[in-house]
């Protein structure tokens, strides 16, 4: 299986969202921000202390703490490690 959660990716990797797990407002917010199944994204950078992580999706930058990134199941589609 090539499925991972977002927090497992490294800067420069590309991925496609498969599922957003979890419940409640955080999940709704992720969905509203465009983190939806089928959406492609890339990891742009990690904060100097390693967390949060910044992603590029739908043409803008969204930062998530690794804990929130864990809610998003993705398949890696390429990019440099």
């Amino acid at each position: 299986m090539n499925n991972k959660t977002l927090n497992m990716l490294d800067a420069g990797q590309n991925a496609r969202v498969i599922q957003v797990k979890g419940k409640g407002p955080s999940r709704r917010r992720l969905l509203e921000m465009g983190m939806l199944p089928g959406v492609g994204l890339s990891v742009t950078k990690k904060a100097p202390l390693g967390d949060p992580v910044d992603f590029k999706l739908k043409g803008y930058n969204l930062s998530l703490r690794k804990q929130e990134a864990q809610m998003v199941v993705v398949e890696v589609t390429g990019g440099v490690k």
Binding site: S26, L31, M33, P52, S63
Partner: protein
């Protein structure tokens, strides 16, 4: 008679909404609060072609669900006040996500004008947005704007006015697919039984929100007899299942729309990403952050000092003139020692505070503030806070009052409570006069380092207290971190100046009332009983000081310091004013030699006093705002007692250590 048009300005955060609002209204703004909640409300008016536009700036939101107080405010305003026109400001370089809010505004049946802001950037990138097509597909008006250069503002005003003359649109319906639509229909049927309710809120919109599990909408049903039925219906299935579907359909709607109106919408590596490669770099990010903070404070002092000299000279001259020309001794004393000295001690620092607010505005408007939250989050998280708490805490360097109000951007109640309780430890501008006086007097060339050290101490105490509160009071995890890093922009001068003025004005208002009142009270207590030497141990204030002297004696503070500290509770800058009054020198520059000449003062005591001033109970204004924002006396008293205890202990340690070292 001119026709009034009610206009609401909505939009995502960081799309130039404030710039558009400022460009529309100019400087005629009224800052207040939204009723019932503590979200800042900005209003302004504009005359345009015989119409009077009453423009309200709604809080920046990504969506109109009830994720945060901001969103509830924006949504309720649109629903309850029914503005004639809603202007949504969009970032033209990021239409897809911005249109999500548009889709929700359309669902609410608003009369919508889109301001496609930053259109210059989009064009530079090669995007070509087909405005007429966008207008006809959505049934809205759309205008390209470049707000920070004033581009498109006239056209936007024209469009707002002409929009009111056309027929109101019918709510736009987004198809949510068969299963969801069935549920929406069923809910609409139930809601239809309460005509009072559906007169106020569109039934379909409510049905959609209820399906999304929106508790705020559910609470609107509480007085209706259909609440039970709705609850009953909703409990029949797990609505979280539909969340994905509904968000997905909205984006699908946008996805179908976009290719028809925008030919390119390129997604290269943006210039912001290039900048971030340096600014949030693993090795450079933190040093850059620290240098920016340090630079901001250096700038504040470097630019502020010449102004301080001028203000000091002016009041010195004024005091001299009063003393020379007024015969009545008590009146001359009231004016000279009391009012002029007091006003001077406070106004002296207005330039610094304005410059600091200006610098904060620049950081905020440029997009750096979000990076600061990004960089600081992990550290803040470890301390039981989150990156976003960092922003109010940073504002705390200016003034605790707006900073505590800024905690409203935190969605989580516990995050917010902790941030409010620790923000006063961030050394505000009002404490600066005390440092400038004492560090300047006793530490000469090292004054800058001493002051920097105090700021660092404040931060450390704030962070450790947060950790403590998270462990014992507001237990649990900090809230999720889901934040946009907006593109960098050149900060607009007008915006930054307006921000500086609005915040600085709040400070001045405080000066005009509370602080001058406090200074006059000090004068009364220092002058009476009649006949005693001004501010001497025999005066009322002297007796008061001696009464509490034992409490601060372990710190090496004498009664004069005790008195100054009591009055510092009114507002911390009064510590300087009262010292000036007590030493009979007035404000300004003659206080330093008087302090140096006093044998009961020493560099160690000066340090201790600065530490105490930094940490003890915040000023009336801040305390009052904590009461207002937490809605509880308990937290207000807790904060006051806690901070004073911390101040006492740390000041004692400081004095003891300094006596050994210095």
């Amino acid at each position: 008679m001119a026709e009034k048009i009610k206009v609401a300005v909505a939009g995502n955060p960081n799309v130039g909404k404030t710039t558009i609002f400022n460009a529309l209204t100019g400087a005629r703004q009224k800052i207040g609060n939204w009723p019932g909640v503590t979200v800042e409300k900005k209003e302004g008016t504009k005359k345009h072609k015989g119409h009077v536009l009453e423009i309200v700036d709604l809080p920046g939101t990504y969506s109109l669900s009830a994720y945060s107080a901001d969103e509830v405010v924006a949504r309720d305003y649109i629903i309850d006040e029914k503005p004639d026109v809603v202007v949504q400001v969009l970032d033209s370089t990021n239409l897809e996500r911005n249109l999500y809010l548009t889709s929700q505004l359309l669902e609410m049946g608003t009369n919508l004008v889109l301001a496609l802001n930053m259109s210059d950037r989009a064009e530079m990138r090669g995007d070509d947005i087909d405005i007429p097509r966008l207008e006809s597909l959505l049934g809205v008006s759309a205008i390209k704007t470049v707000a920070n250069e004033g581009g498109g503002i006239e056209a936007l005003l024209d469009s707002i006015v002409s929009k009111t003359e056309s027929n109101p649109p019918k709510p736009h319906e987004i198809g949510y697919g068969k299963t969801v639509e069935e549920k929406i229909c069923a809910l609409e049927d139930i809601l239809g039984n309460d005509t009072e309710l559906t007169k106020h809120y569109p039934a379909r919109w409510m049905a959609v929100k209820l399906l999304e599990g929106d508790e705020n909408v559910l609470s609107k049903l509480s007085s209706s007899n259909i609440e039970g039925k709705v609850q009953n219906y909703l409990s029949g299935f797990d609505n979280e299942e539909y969340e994905v579907e509904m968000a997905d359909k909205r984006y699908e709607f946008i996805g179908a729309l976009l290719p028809q109106v925008c030919t390119t919408c390129a997604e290269d590596v943006s210039p912001s990403d290039m900048v971030d490669k340096v600014v949030t770099n693993k090795y450079l990010g933190i040093p850059i952050f620290l240098s920016l903070m340090w630079g901001m404070f250096e700038l504040t002092f470097a630019l502020g000092t010449p102004f301080m000299g001028l203000i000091g000279k002016f009041f010195g001259w004024l005091g001299g003139a009063v003393a020379a020309n007024i015969e009545s001794a008590w009146l001359a004393s009231l004016l000279g020692d009391g009012i002029i000295a007091g006003v001077c001690s406070v106004l002296l620092f207005v330039p610094n505070i304005f410059i600091l607010f200006f610098a904060i505005a620049l950081l905020e408007n440029s997009g750096y503030m979000a990076r600061a939250a990004f960089i600081m989050d992990k550290l803040m998280y470890k301390m039981g806070l989150q990156g976003k708490s960092f922003i109010p805490m940073l504002m705390g360097f200016g003034c605790s009052v707006p900073a505590i109000m800024a905690t409203r951007t935190l969605e989580d109640e516990k995050d917010r409570l902790i941030t409010m309780l620790v923000t006063p430890f961030m050394s505000c501008g009002a404490r600066l006069p005390v440092y400038i006086l004492l560090a300047g007097t006793f530490f000469g060339r090292e004054a800058g380092s001493v002051i920097f050290g105090l700021y660092v101490l404040g931060i450390l105490v704030a962070i450790l207290s947060a950790k403590l509160f998270r462990t014992f009071i507001a237990k649990g995890q900090p809230s999720p971190f889901i934040m946009e890093l907006p593109p960098y922009t050149r900060p607009s001068l007008v915006n930054s100046l307006l921000y500086m003025w609005n915040q600085g004005y709040l400070y001045l208002k405080k000066v005009g009332t509370v602080i001058i009142g406090g200074v006059m009270l000090v004068w009364v207590l220092a002058y009476f009983p009649q006949g005693v030497e001004y501010g001497s141990a025999e005066s009322l204030i002297g007796s008061l000081g001696q009464l509490i002297e034992p409490l601060v004696a372990p710190l090496g503070f004498d009664w004069k310091i005790a008195v100054a500290l009591i009055f510092g509770v009114v507002a911390k800058e009064i510590v300087v004013g009262s010292l000036g009054t007590l030493y009979g020198t007035g404000g300004g520059e003659s206080l330093s030699p008087a302090l140096l000449a006093d044998p009961s003062f020493s560099p160690a005591i000066a340090l201790g006093l600065m530490v105490f001033t930094l940490l003890y109970v915040p000023c009336f204004g801040a305390v009052a705002v904590i009461k207002k924002e937490t809605g509880s006396w308990k937290w207000m008293f807790f904060q006051a007692a806690y901070s004073t205890a911390v101040a006492w202990v740390l000041a004692l340690v400081t004095v003891l250590v300094a006596n050994l070292v210095l």
